[in-house]
């Protein structure tokens, strides 16, 4: 009599937790190619200000976007590769700020990965060849998290270093504005 109820209770609990688990905790120790192996190249490279005909999202996005391990790894690389030097902790400096919701070259993770891999005019170096594809996507996932794009349960609240303002878990959820003011 009661056992059926217990089973139902357990199923309910399991269901509730599954919703939270998703791909957030998935740990990839190396890049798992989906489709092509090298990021960027031609397709998602185009800048599409504002607008209409965005190419479909790269299938790798779901391995990295909202993935806690990728974001954390990206965070480490962000410091180690001295991204801080130009972009500060997202606030910007020599390079553009990454915390706002303005994206000159697109705010989708595959677009950010392309930006990192290929570099951009006015100082952003190309990291392809210096970092692996896996690392570039990790970095892209982290950069996206700076403006509060991924879900809050995938980002880390802070690092073990000097405080840099609002904890990331509390940054307001941003939207993507593709700025068409990409400077020449």
């Amino acid at each position: 009599m009661s056992s059926r109820f217990r089973v139902r209770l357990a199923l309910f609990g399991a269901g509730a937790l599954t919703l939270g688990a998703c791909d957030r905790e998935e740990h990839h120790s190396r890049a798992k190619p989906v489709g092509e192996t090298v990021p960027g190249g031609e397709s998602p490279d185009t800048i599409f200000p504002g607008t209409s005909s965005a190419p479909p999202l790269d299938a790798r996005a779901k391995l990295y976007d909202n993935n806690a391990n990728a974001i954390a790894m990206g965070q480490t690389l962000y410091t180690q590769m001295n991204c801080v030097g130009c972009h500060s902790h997202g606030g910007g400096g020599m390079g553009p700020p990454l915390m706002d919701d303005e994206w000159r070259y697109g705010g989708r993770i595959d677009q950010i990965a392309t930006t990192i891999a290929e570099g951009r005019p006015n100082g952003m170096p190309a990291w392809r060849g210096k970092l692996t594809e896996h690392q570039i996507w990790d970095l892209a996932a982290y950069v996206r998290s700076l403006s509060g794009l991924p879900s809050k349960d995938a980002v880390s609240s802070r690092t073990e270093s000097m405080s840099t303002g609002t904890p990331q878990t509390l940054t307001p959820h941003g939207d993507i504005k593709n700025s068409d003011t990409a400077q020449q």
């Binding site: 009599m1 937790l17 349960d153 802070r158």
Partner: protein, 670 residues
Amino acid sequence: MTDVRADTFDAMPTRESERERVEAENRRLAEERKRIARDGPKLKGAKLAARLDAAWNRPPGIIGWLATVDHKEIGRRYILTALGFLVLGGIMALIMRLQLAKPDNGMIGAERYNQLFSMHGSTMMFLFAVPVMEGVAVYMIPLMLGTRSTAFPRLNAFSYFMYLFGGLMLWIAFVLNMAPDVGWFEYTPLSGPQYSPGKHTDIWAQMVTYTEVAALAAAVVLVCTILKARAPGMTLARMPLFAWAMLVVGIMIIFAMPAVALVTTVLLIPDRLVGTQFFNAAEGGDALLFQHMFWFFGHPEVYIIFLPATGFVSVIVETFCRRPVFAHPVVVLALISTGILSFGLWVHHMFATGLPRVGYSFFTAASMSVSIPTGLQIFCWLATMWDGKPRFQVPMLYVVGFIVTFVIGGLTGVILASVPLDLQLHDTYFVVAHFHYVLIGGAVFPLLGIFTYWYPKITGRMMSETLGKIGFWLVFLGFHTTFLPMHWSGMLGMPRRVYTYPAGLGLELPNLISTIGSFVLAFGVVLFVVNGVLSLYRGVIAGPNPWGAASLEWATSSPPPVYNFEHIPIVESSTPLWDLDGELPVATGLRVDQKEMLLTTVVAAAPDLREPVPQASLWPFIAACAVGLVFAASIFSAWAVPFGLIPCGIALIAWFWPKDMQRKPEPEIS
């Protein structure tokens, strides 16, 4: 003490009309009080049993199952759930042993292994060891004390559900690949936001919170029961040693567990969730703060597990040597001083952290001195055996196994208390061996003994003696084969928590022996479980007192009726059933139409109050669900706390709000 019985209301300064109305009501209630049925020479035997059954039985069905406040039912659930977790934790251990059977083994990867040992430790400490002791106590303490219920039975029910939900959350997370993987100790900064991304660490931290809420509730229930609900005449000096042990343990829980609840829920989770800086060295925090707080709880925790087991040993030794334990006051003092000393030892888990050396000497001395009370207790048991004529039945075998094993664990503990020795041995397999000797030898052996001992009381049937003896030898030999070589592998340079080790360090043989032993041990435990299940159907019918024991739980039938005792027994010595002349002196006058228990004074156990016992209620379960939901949701968002508190508040108010707004001649809790 001011007595506020209904008749004192005459003196109340109230408005005239109101006053008259209240007075009239008081008179009517006083009349009704005279008509309440009570047990006594005129109402006894089968007629009384039928009336008490009607008043005490819970409603049938699922609702009744969830609503029960019977300490025996809750205690049984506690024990069975904890045993379930023991089996799960044991399976984790066997998988780890297989992985370590040979060097450079590739059976299990690093990540999975790290989850396994984290789950093994967390399950055994939080979901097995402490809850099983509480479960046994929740079942047995009211029977040993000669009372009808625990104090706050609804809180007791709430405590069980909190514990269950905490365990479920951890294990569901494990199935979903979200298991914690940074150990049962979760040191920062490894468990902090940067190095443990994702939610698995939070799941561990919240599981701890659930089980601490449960343990604290159970501790309050037990302490209040032991202090206030003893049978008349059972002074503190005559109280059974197991009750003494649980009193000390309850108080220890009350002082120790807030530390771990604080360090996980108030410091670690905010660090991870909202970015507080408690453990961030760059912003004035300190990683060692976590260790201090954790071990301030963690060391007493060991004694919280061990002291109930000493209570078991005292119980078994008394019955099987047919003597009260030698020097009862010495044992009580030993229990109390162990409890106090255990709060002064936590730094011996941190000798390698580079704290000032002068402080270390103090903690060395304190850690060593805890072996004095323990040594005294062991002496008292041995002296009792010397004085009496031990009967070698299964429970007594486990006691002998306990002494042979635990003393080794105690002595390696003395070795580890020395700073220069600990610096070599800390975090090696030597320590793994040490605390398994203490926890399995010191707590699980007596636990298996006491299961065998109390099994007939709980089920009405005896466990098989033959299977029990085979099981004992398998457990005993399997245990030593597993853990004795670990001293050796630790000395040979094997650190803890490694998922593999290289060949050529001499670690191959001790590890292989350990692995073989672990399966023998597991087989012994399986045999014990099989014995338990088979004996449910095939065991010899036990009768009320199969072992010829002296304490009150044996004065009622096996299994006991839902109300425990038809009349409240009166106690005149520390071994009441051995000092009778054929009849049990009883006190009468408790009502039989409603649940009621007797409260006595704290020291002398003189009758003090008649206390209504709450009826079965779903609200503790609903409250546990609400609180559990807040805990689970707060892993993901801090907003869960303010919003989640609303349903919690509603459930708690409904729990306490009287369901019947009419005044009653005597208080009832509906």
